[in-house]
Symmetry: C2
């Protein structure tokens, strides 16, 4: 490695990607133009941690990565699991971790590392990741939806995150799909999240197992315990093995998701919809129902192109790298 | 007026705006930078007319306007009441007039007038009109919805029409608001259009008048006839005068509209929603219900700013002028 003032600018440029997730923190370094991480670190979060823990953990990981992989850090991109004011780089709050209210995350990281920082919420950032490196490449308009414990999403329009007026665009989880339906975490009833998320699938399965004594033998066996407490993954596995109760529960969730996607398609006519998150690994029948229901709800002239995510659970981290890339480009443009 | 080759380029520049509407054709000339039409013409359409009639009528109006108002035509913008491929300036079809299938309208007009032409569907064009000159001025993201016989809409994002992958974005009329609800013209049930359009309001009012012998006296009087055949306007007027049946019908339609808008707001978080069309002139209570219902469906951090249109029924024509303006600007950029 070269040293001295002239040498410093010749060192390889680096993008730092950070993902503040619900259950873990991830950090990674990318050399612009590369398709694989130069280095990556991940720490699973202890229960009951607060924002100060999150920030200290992330800073330690980032510093370690930069120490062991010398280079010229040019920009930082951040995915945050909660609502964010992306224009100001401000975290509004976290629904899971206390102490995040109105944290100027972008400013903190810029002060620490002295490079431009872009922050956005995980749905938006994952959408950007899928557009840049995953199943949405080349799409002029992309809706990304993650179906996991909850349901979130984001839009990439014209190659940029579309966050809306308050950074809240993409909240498809709170679109009404069944008036008077299940109670949602947001307080309303019949939201897509309350009908089709992993928690919703598990809840409906548990209710049906409790109510239908003879049914769902395979699901009971997989879920274990007495009474059985199934997860969405148990439901998907039991459905694939022919358990009719599990299949019906999954079918209902897939139809709800297709209904919500149909609404999004009529409203925005995206070139493509990409679905990620653990629940979307629920088999061919699940996907078929989603596509058929969305097609039935969408107007005939409107395309329905719904595909599995390409980056699996790493979409937010890859998206953070794409964010870093775009903020580095902007900086270059301004100084050109 | 100056004459000769040099003089020609000094003549005032003109934009031609054309609106192929369901019941009438309008044409108007605008001098760029002005806020009022230089000249305007309108012809109401006879029933049973076809595309050839539409085209001949519009061409005659346009030629007359240009003959009586000499100037230098620089661009044409067109609003068409039906699905359009805006990129290619191609009319897919009209739901009301035969013979429009796959008509290269942009090409026809360019051949006739020798200037650049932009064509888009009326929902998108009206949205652009409201953004440029109406109630959506200055908005980074705008949803325009017209509530009339049917329900249509359009998006303006970053100062440009967002038409989606197939030019179908903004079709909020076919978002599901009541599963198993009324049959829609599109074949589905419970679409917003089937629950909240002018035709839907009239239909529900008529059904209730037939079923409830003693109710809706004021509405019956306004609607006349025996049996009474109310319009949406009758319903709005009767509701304002205290007719409780009419008020209930209108309330239900407003709540359906608020529900659909809530879905759009959660998905796209627009800076503003502008509502136009005759049905939106249904009084303060109607507006209050729309706003309250949309607020109840939208996530707390998401703004709900719903306002009446500023251009009344002229939004498509003004939008066509804005389209002409933008295509003229593009042409200038290319030749600069």
């Amino acid at each position: 490695m070269m040293t001295g003032a002239a040498g410093l600018t010749d060192r390889q440029p680096l993008l730092l990607a950070l993902d503040f997730g619900g259950s873990k923190h991830s950090a990674a370094l990318l050399v612009p133009g590369q398709q694989t991480w130069l280095a990556q670190a991940r720490i699973y979060s202890p229960p009951g941690r607060d924002a100060a823990y999150d920030q200290a953990t992330m800073l330690r990981m980032a510093r370690e990565l930069l120490t062991t992989n010398p280079g010229n850090l040019v920009a930082i991109g951040v995915s945050f699991g909660g609502p964010v004011d992306a224009r100001r780089g401000l975290v509004h709050l976290s629904y899971h971790v206390s102490g995040w209210d109105n944290t100027p995350l972008s400013e903190m990281l810029r002060a620490e590392f002295g490079v431009p920082v872009a922050v956005d919420n995980d749905g938006n950032v994952a959408a950007l990741g899928e557009w840049r490196w995953g199943a949405g490449q080349g799409c002029g308009s992309l809706l990304y939806v993650t179906v996991s414990t909850g349901i979130g999403g984001g839009w990439v329009l014209g190659g940029r995150i579309y966050g809306g007026a308050d950074g809240m665009a993409g909240e498809i989880g709170h679109v009404l799909v069944r008036p008077g339906g299940a109670r949602c975490a947001c307080g309303k009833r019949g939201c897509l999240e309350a009908e089709a998320s992993g928690l919703a699938i598990a809840r409906v399965a548990q209710e049906r197992l409790a109510a239908e004594a003879g049914a769902g033998e395979m699901l009971r066996a997989l879920a274990g315990g007495s009474p059985a407490v199934p997860t969405a993954e148990h439901v998907a596995r039991a459905a694939e093995r022919g358990d009719s109760l599990a299949a019906a529960v999954l079918e209902q969730a897939a139809a709800a998701l297709g209904t919500g996607l149909g609404a999004a398609i009529n409203l925005m006519n995206p070139e493509r919809v990409v679905l990620g998150g653990g629940v979307t690994r629920s088999g061919a029948r699940y996907w078929q129902t989603i596509r058929e229901t969305a097609r039935a709800h969408a107007l005939p002239l409107t395309r329905v192109d719904i595909r599995p995510a390409g980056l699996a659970d790493d979409a937010p981290l890859w998206g953070a790298a794409a964010l870093a890339e775009s903020v580095a480009d902007q900086e270059c443009d301004q100084h050109a």
